[in-house]
Amino acid sequence: MAKVTVDGIQVEVANGATVLQACEAAGKEIPRFCYHERLSIAGNCRMCLVEVEKAPKPVASCGYPVMDGMVVKTDTEVVRRARRAVMEFLLINHPLDCPICDQGGECDLQDQAFAYGGDHSRYAENKRAVKDKYLGPLVKTVMTRCIQCTRCVRFATEVAGVPELGATARGENMEIGTYVEKALTSELSGNLIDICPVGALTSKPQAFTARPWELRKTDSIDVTDATGTNIRVHAKGPEVMRVLPRVNDAVNEEWMADKGRFSVDGLRRKRLDRPWVRVHGKLRQASWQDAFVAIARRLEGVKGERIGAVIGDLCDAESMVALGDLMTALGSPNVDCRQDGAQYDLGRREFYTFNSGIAGIEEADALLLVGTDPRHEAPVLNARIRKRWLAGAFPVGVIGTVGADLTYPAEMLGDRPSVLSGLLDGSVGFIEALRNAKRPMIVVGQAALTREDGAAVLAACWALAHQVGALLPDWHGFNVLHQAASRVGALDLGLVPRAGGRSVAGMMSGGVDVLWLLGADEIGAGRIGPDTFVVYQGHHGDAGAARADVILPGAAYTEKSGTYVNTEGRVQTAFQAVFPPGEAREDWRILRAFSEVVGHTLPYDDLDGVRRRLAEVNPVFARQGLPRFGGTDLSGPSGDLNAIGTAPFAQPVSDYYQTNTISRASETMAECSRVYARPVIQAAE
């Protein structure tokens, strides 16, 4: 530790810390543009100048290591003048177009110019102009505004792992870009907008729609993947304008995947805003009462086992527990949350969660990916794997098919589950890497579980984890990576077919007479029997609503208070940012209201009541967050190791930008799919 005095305040910081960190520890704010806590230090903006005693001139605090006994002054005339000079330099070429700049109001340069900018320019020369670059359909560039801090270059190279951005030419001609015109191939490109301290990189889909100070901010959780990214929903009036990530070091640090960030325009399109009832083959608008009565009539005399319910990928735990309770009340054992038919063992929670934790990835020292493509299933989690790989000595093995480069080198062990058997009997060389590791990690993806032999693959992975010493009292190296935000919550609530119940496949082709789809659009609605009466409760007019006999308009994730459990098993709460459109209602309220119509009134009337019920069903819901735990019970999930099949693992995600009803309704995501996904398919042909 080094003792440093900052403006008379003594602080102790770690050896090797920078002066800037010491200043922050002392509570002194240092202006900066190029420095970013999660990126390497560039030291090229010079805004963070401070005075260090015995140093002949002001030093750039971001890259200056502390020494014991150092005396730093952050607020002297020398410092102020130096920073004013730097600001003047930055403004020589920076356009004064704040009134038409989308960064206005949340611009580091604008804010700091208030403190250090002059009231007029001393330059009569023309400002430099730079041609705008094309970085794809998500990031808009106004390169004349660029102050060349190179944060974007460092983010793309270090965090996103796509070294495609660079600074070409030099001096006054230096430009940031890709040199060759091409879209940035990253699922994290939206973060460039956040880290750009000026208005050079702004959001293309949300250009010129709102000013930051007009927006109402609500904390929420991203539901477009199972990472549970902490987000903040920015709304203007009744509309969600944009979504930005919140800092949560245990989950997403401060990054966010593009699908969650840019699919919000899908929340405005193809919405179900009133109930519909099919009369003589055609859907007609109806009142809530009529819709409920239509369902209740159809349910009359139908036996419990002829009623089924399927839960979609975006559901909150509140609506799921209400649906589960309703089905129990109706005497139905047919409830299933596994639209994709994945096989899990609900015996213990650790059989279906990401037990190492997302932050735990940084502690691992070897990784095996089985039937998963984290780059496209959970881009933010993948960035954490890359971060671990950058730290050195991290062998990664892959069993299965991945869509593109994972952004870190990985050994492709094969695409068949037989490789797992090979690892177990020691005939595949990668086993040494796992055995030698102190904290090995095995990640099982949905492509490994949505197969006939899914249970066997799961059991084999557990056996492998046990064999290589991944299950220790202080380390749990067995992980399941989910794709659906609702999945772990649903599994926690036990929403799989009960004894004698039918799974999703069993409910198809006339397996049930009445089928309740709670936001379930990915089951292949064409497979539902022609005589099955389908109730679709959800927020988007997608495959499920098209097949429905009654449509009950629900609320999207931004429109309701909901509890979500991420792939780690972390319980997180999202708050309501806007109201559902038209007559749409919060989903658990719809189910509660309907239960009254059929005479099985659910025993909760308010959100607190539902949440008490959640905690009653599974105590994990009573506690926010995630307790990390080690592997103590070594007995594995059920599943016959000998039943492992021979078919290769399928590619987990075929089109990252089109995986749920919101992203399919989004024009931005359709454009991304056109730009990014198609060329890959062509290349594969």
Binding site: N126, R128, A129, K131, P163, G166, N173, E175, Y179
Partner: protein, 242 residues
Amino acid sequence: MSGHFSAENIGHGTPGHAPRPETDHQPSQFSFDADSETQIAAILAKYPEGREASGVIPLLYVAQKQMGRQTGSAWVPRVAMDVIAARLNMPPIRVYEVATFYLMFNTKPVGRYHLQVCTTTPCWLRGSDDIVSACKKAAGLKAFEETSADGLFTMTEVECLGACANAPILQVNDDYYEDLDAERTVALIEALKRGEAPERGPTIDRFNSAPVGGRTTLLDEPNTNHADGQPGVMPTVEPGAV
């Protein structure tokens, strides 16, 4: 202060060193020939495994020279940068950055003779403006960055070439022509047009950067008769010997 406000016309550092590739004359492929491969093998032998990226600048030179041999225009097309990136196992953008940073690499085609006129202060004080206008006249050029109609000459304005004692300087491809004036510049360019290879170095009576017209100091021969058998000891100079 008035003028065109397009991106091409504003900004005055080094004109025309466009960071964007001129796609219209980019060849579609590039591969190193046998000569270049020999040089590359020698270059890469200097760097330990995993550090091949250090060889990016020498390899860019190899590519530029090869283009000069093959097409008469020594420049580095983008596809050559891609080939280098693949060879050195580095992302293409890192090669683009280096190639566009150093003005010695031409990212668009140049004439057979690349006239690089130094206009930095010492050369300018010694009459580099005359050299520029002489180049324009003799080679038939109107401005910097232009290539003559016959494809022989491209004139570029460069910063200090480090030979200020011999200012003004014109660098033609790799060779320095020093102590120029307008007349001798025209003569040089005419000789190049005829396909001759004028001797490089000072164009006046001068050895390298030694004084014009011969030495002015140290005119006596040093005493090499080490009678005392102590080589390297300065001889005693008798007073009034000079």
